[in-house]
Amino acid sequence: MADQESMLSVAPISREEVVRRKAFLEFADADVAILEGVNEFAARYTDSVIEDFYRHLMAHDETRAFFTDPDLLLHVQKMQKAYFRRLTEGNYDEQYVANRVSVGAIHERIGLPVKSYFGMYCYYLRAVLERLREEYKESPEHAFTVFKSLMKLTFFDMGLAIDTYIESREHTIQMQQEAIRELSTPVLLLRPSLLLLPIIGLIDTQRARQLTEQLLRSVRSNRAKVVVIDVTGVPSVDTKVANHLVQAVEAARLMGAVSIVTGIAPDIAQTMVKLGIDLMRITTVGDLQSGIEEAERLLGYTVSKITCTEKARGKEQS
């Protein structure tokens, strides 16, 4: 795992992409020089800008909620100061990019909404503009020039951070989906050698894969000879789902188990045939009840109802 951590900080976006973005923002060497030029000035007002910034965050319920933990707050403030100082230190290279990317990931991880994120950048820019206006009262053109360069850099930062934000979010969603999938499928041993796999809900490729895996492992551990797969609870059975089913059935067969699929509604069966799915490749029986009876028959069980007289006789004899 430690390896993975260090790997994650390697080349999040390509060098070519960085060049492309800077070109599109028209952020060039001249801008780097301009920003480096105000580095000393920036060092002077960093503290006050950051303090004002936090007052702003704390004044609004939504953002204040993220910084209730005093340790977190302190840590974030330190980071923000460092970020701020970095803006005018020049050398906006690979390490700079990697750093901005990780900032985005951190904000996503704590659940900060994008709107707040953008709002924060906006506050920064306004705060800096004010200070620049003050500082360069005598030469407003220069303040304007500096601000333009800063804006380019800030938007470059935002682009990086938001990309990571989105990716981080997608990653989180995928992991959650995986967790849900793992929780949701029981394979039941109905009788010795008879497994029941009741499927409820929509099936996508990932879920189908997981269901099949679980089914096959159950076949092995329970030495199942017959499997009843019930899809009554699956709202939509299209070609893809049908194919997944067929694959599950075929895989179970390779392990010596016969499958019976139950619960395919007549209209769905019709659609499947129309779509060209070979229903002969899987044995389908009307409802779950019949499916289980068929399975028991295959396994050599006979299920018979005891009549009232037999019950009574049974009682007498005991």
């Binding site: 895996e213 096959l216 492992r217 076949v219 075929e250 895989a251 390779l254 392990m255 010596g256």
Partner: protein, 126 residues
């Protein structure tokens, strides 16, 4: 003389080929040839190929197994493939390798039981 990667044991009228480790193509083909010879020699009526140990069954392996089934059938023996593991079964169907027309069972025990059922009692009475 094939290498001892899949020794063939005899149990009455049944031959049991148990794969011991990953087979290269030549080994599989060697197994096929040896089984054919042995089925003839011992007038075997049943063959079990145990692939429990194999972590991959690709298109070549599937093809060769099918060949073995067909060839042994031509000389009067029924073959059951046993021991395909869950991961392997899954990969196989993804690849479209269903071993259609080939008898399969979970393991050696089930395979032997299957042969008994398929061949009926006469299979053993010889």
């Amino acid at each position: 003389m094939s290498r001892p990667r899949a020794p063939i044991l005899r149990l009455g009228d049944t031959l049991i080929a148990s794969v011991q480790e990953a087979l290269i193509d030549a080994d599989l083909l060697g197994l096929r040839d040896e089984l054919v010879v042995d089925v003839k020699r011992y007038r075997a009526t049943g063959v079990i190929i145990d692939v429990t140990v194999l972590d991959v069954l690709d298109s070549f392996a599937a093809r060769t197994l099918r060949n073995i089934v067909q060839m042994t059938q031509l000389i009067g023996a029924k073959t059951v493939i046993v021991g395909i593991q869950p991961d392997v079964a899954f990969a196989m169907v993804q690849l479209g390798l269903t071993l259609k027309g080939t008898d399969t069972a979970l393991d050696l025990e089930d395979g032997l039981a299957r042969l008994e059922v398929t061949l009926g009692r006469e299979g053993r009475a010889r």
